[in-house]
Each structure stands twice: as C-alpha cells, then as structure tokens.
Chain length 187, copies 2
C-alpha cells in the first residue's frame, strides 16, 4: 500500500518554488541525454531553455542538434573535442572560457528558465575554469533560473552546492560486446 | 593525451548496426528523463519513436506529454498511479497487461525504430507480467528496433539480456532539503 517512487502526482503537492542546480555526473550513459529530456520537458511547459556544450566540437551535428533545430531550441556546442593534452587542450581551454562567459551572461540575464551546461565538468576538472567562480555565479543567479550541469567527475564543491545530483553508473555497455554506437541512441 | 570519454566522434567509427535493449534503472532521478532525451535524439535523426508509460495515470499531462504533443511524438500513459496494493494494484495490473499487449504489437510491427517502455520494471517487479515472456518478445523483435526500458529495480534476467544498462544513483535530492518538485525539471 506504500508509495515506492517519488511520483509526479505526489511531488506536485510539495510547496516551495525555486530554480535548482542539477548535476548529472558519473561514468555511465545518460548524463547529456537526461539533460536533453529535461530541456524537452521544460519546453513542454513553455519555458525558455538553452544548452551550451563544452568540449564538444562546434561542428557537432548529432541527433540532439538536429532535434533542437527542428523545435527551435538552441544547443550551442563550442569545443575542440574529447582529446585532452597539448594544442587541443589549449584550444579547449580557450573555447571553454569563451563559452563560460556566454553562460554567465545567459544565467545572469534571467531570460532563460533552464540553462544546461553540457560536459561542463571537464573545464572544471582540468582547471580551465575556477570552481569558486562558478559557484559564485550560480549563487547570485536570478531565483527562477534552473542550471543543469553534466559530465564525469563533478567536483565535490559543486556537488555540495547543488540541489539535485545523480550519478549515472555504467552497469553494462554495448561497446564491451563489440556493438557500435547506434545513431539515435548514443549520438 | 588520452581520450577520457566515449565521445560521439569516436563512437561513430565503430562498426556494427543493431537495435539495442537499453535499461535505465536505479533509485535516482533521470531514468524517464534520459529516455525522453533518447527519443528526442532519435527523432532528430528522423526515426519513428514512441513511449508507452506503465503505472503512470492515463490523465498524466506533464512536461513530457505537452512537449510530445507539440512535436508529434506519441507518449501514451496507461496506469492507475504509483500506489501499490489493494484495488489500485489490481487496476494497475489490468492496465499493464493491456499496455504490454500494445507494446508487443508495436515492437513486432517494426514500424517504430525506438519503443520506450517507461516504468516498465514495476509490472515485472510486482509479477503482473512474466519476465520470461518479455525477454522472449525482445529476443524475436525485428533487428532494427531499439527498446528502452525505465524504472527502479530492473530484474536481473532482463539486465542479463540487455545491451546497455545504466543505474541512476541518487547522490543528493532537493526533497530532502524541503524543496518542492519543480515544474519542467521533475514533471
């Protein structure tokens, strides 16, 4: 007779409204995908949403970019790809700083009710951006702005600051069985 | 200098095409949300996608339902809500069997390239549907059909059968801080 899950029916009864800082971290799949689902859901409620992608190449044109274009949501990738070290890392750092400056403006403006910072943990992990500044910006943001952060190895300070943190844990991955990444599923 | 994540750029180089069975389980947030993101991504690639929701009330009209209507994706809830036991459980069982019959037809037909069965672990967990039959249907499905299953406590036999399994693990939840579920974020 007990409720075994936090069903939406139940959750709606709770009583305080505020923008959340949501983190999807861990080494499993579904971090970016869940952020996309969240944007879609918020967009379903006529909220204004945007995703800024770090590290992902500016030329990226995966399913999410195509879908976003089709429905008029902005997903803006700006990075040099997932190779770290050397010249590529310097480029990733430069592009991440630019992207973060854009993110700060967007968050501060309050124009968007959901701002997703995809793969944002990498610039923090590699020290391209100071975590303290990020927390400072998040702490001072307009009250109604939700910020969703994805990526592996979220820094502990950020986890401490966040409201909702989920670890996506890999239990089983098809690449281990030699099955290629599938269009529409993983990209 | 190493690649620290399975980036889409890398994954696209792999070489075998096949429909996957994907499971999002665990007690954290993001299971349904990641399934939604996956549908959106596949839809971005012009794939035909659908979500059948178990247990969730047929009157459910959350962000995902609104968004789906806006873009023409079918999300069909059919359940009696997340209260288990008694009369409500009998109703959930009846509705789950009906929904599963619909799911079997959809999967067998090959009309949809992605069929998501949301909260599908509950009918299995409570014994309303036999896991063996489910695995049998999945095993015989057309080769290009991806099936995405969400819900807590996925049965081990199903995990053993699946290709990609992720556990969403709760690290931190705002309800613990007395913050209500936020529109656009959780529903």
């Amino acid at each position: 007779m007990s409720v075994t899950d936090s069903s939406p029916e139940e959750s709606q009864k709770a009583s305080r409204q505020k923008g959340l800082v949501v983190i999807n971290t861990g080494h499993g799949k579904g971090k970016t995908t869940a952020a996309l689902g969240l944007l879609l859901r918020a967009w379903g409620h006529d909220m204004k949403v945007i995703m800024l992608q770090f590290v992902k190449k500016s030329t990226a044109n995966f399913g999410e970019h195509r879908a976003a274009r089709k429905i008029g949501i902005d997903i803006i990738p700006q990075g040099a790809g997932f190779t770290f070290g050397g010249k590529n890392e310097a480029e990733n750092k430069r592009l991440s700083i630019e992207q973060w400056n854009r993110a700060k403006e967007l968050i501060d403006s309050g124009t968007y009710q959901v701002v997703a910072l995809d793969e944002f943990t990498y610039p923090l992990k590699y020290g391209w951006l100071p975590v303290t500044e990020v927390i400072d910006v998040l702490g001072k943001r307009p009250q109604n702005v939700h910020v969703v952060i994805t990526g592996r190895d979220a820094p502990q300070e950020l986890i401490d600051f966040a409201d909702l943190v989920t670890e996506m844990k890999e239990i089983k991955h098809p690449l281990r069985k030699g099955i290629k990444a599938q269009k529409g599923i993983e990209f």
